[in-house]
């Protein structure tokens, strides 16, 4: 990515006035900056690793939960509205697609919650070595799945069907 212009060719000494000449003689300034500054590598060139995946998942689940709060508030407002509207919303929530959405919502909540606990651990100054950070990330993924399943098993047990 770093073409750098003629002045940066290996084996050739860069002339000290190159940058100024680019800036002053018609070349757009942005091109000058692009050639002079190191570029941040793009996401696609990284090999995926687990702490990166959980970092992205933490933000993604947060965004999903932001939208999902609307569902909880919808259900609360329905309960405050009256029996017939509540039955309609409760029926949607209890349908197979409603349960699928709520199952996904549960998992997102558990993943984001455990991610938050992971951040508290870091804030307390622990878990920064690569080995510990990887263990925490895998625990986050495994824990979110286990907790989600336990919640739904408990829910179905409580409903008795």
């Amino acid at each position: 990515m770093r073409a750098g212009g003629a002045g940066n060719t290996p084996g050739r000494r860069r002339r000290p006035d190159d940058g100024e000449r680019h800036g002053e003689h018609g070349t757009p300034r942005s091109r000058t900056l692009a050639s002079e500054r190191p570029l941040s590598p793009h996401l696609s060139i990284y090999k995926p690793y687990v702490t990166m995946v959980t970092s992205i998942m933490h933000r993604a689940t947060g965004i999903v939960l932001y939208a999902g709060t609307l569902l909880l508030v919808w259900w609360l407002v329905a309960a405050a509205t009256g029996p017939s509207y509540f039955d309609f919303v409760n029926g949607l929530a209890g349908s197979w697609i409603g349960r699928l959405v709520l199952f996904g919502y549960t998992w997102a909540l558990m993943h984001h919650m455990l991610g938050g606990i992971r951040h508290i651990v870091w804030d307390l100054g622990y878990g920064f070595t690569p080995a510990k950070a990887n263990t925490l990330a895998w625990a986050n993924i495994a824990g979110s799945i286990i907790l989600t399943l336990l919640i739904w098993i408990a829910g179905y047990a409580a409903m008795g069907n």
């Binding site: 309960a79 405050a80 409760n90």
Partner: protein, 80 residues
Amino acid sequence: MAGDDYAAVTARLSHPLTAIFMLGVIVSSVVHMRIGMQVVIEDYVSGEGAKIVWLIANTVFSAAIALAAIFAILKLAFGA
């Protein structure tokens, strides 16, 4: 509570401790939602104008959702 009928749900939500707990859940969640989404907007929306519009939309949405939930909880708590 999920899956219960109207009478059971409204009875549960009308208990003062449940209502206070639910108010706490809603307020803390919406505050967290708002500041979290603010960081996402600041990270991904380029352009000052668009950024300001999205930040205002975030605040308006958060306020609206919190008000709706608080109203619903209080109505149920005070006897819907």
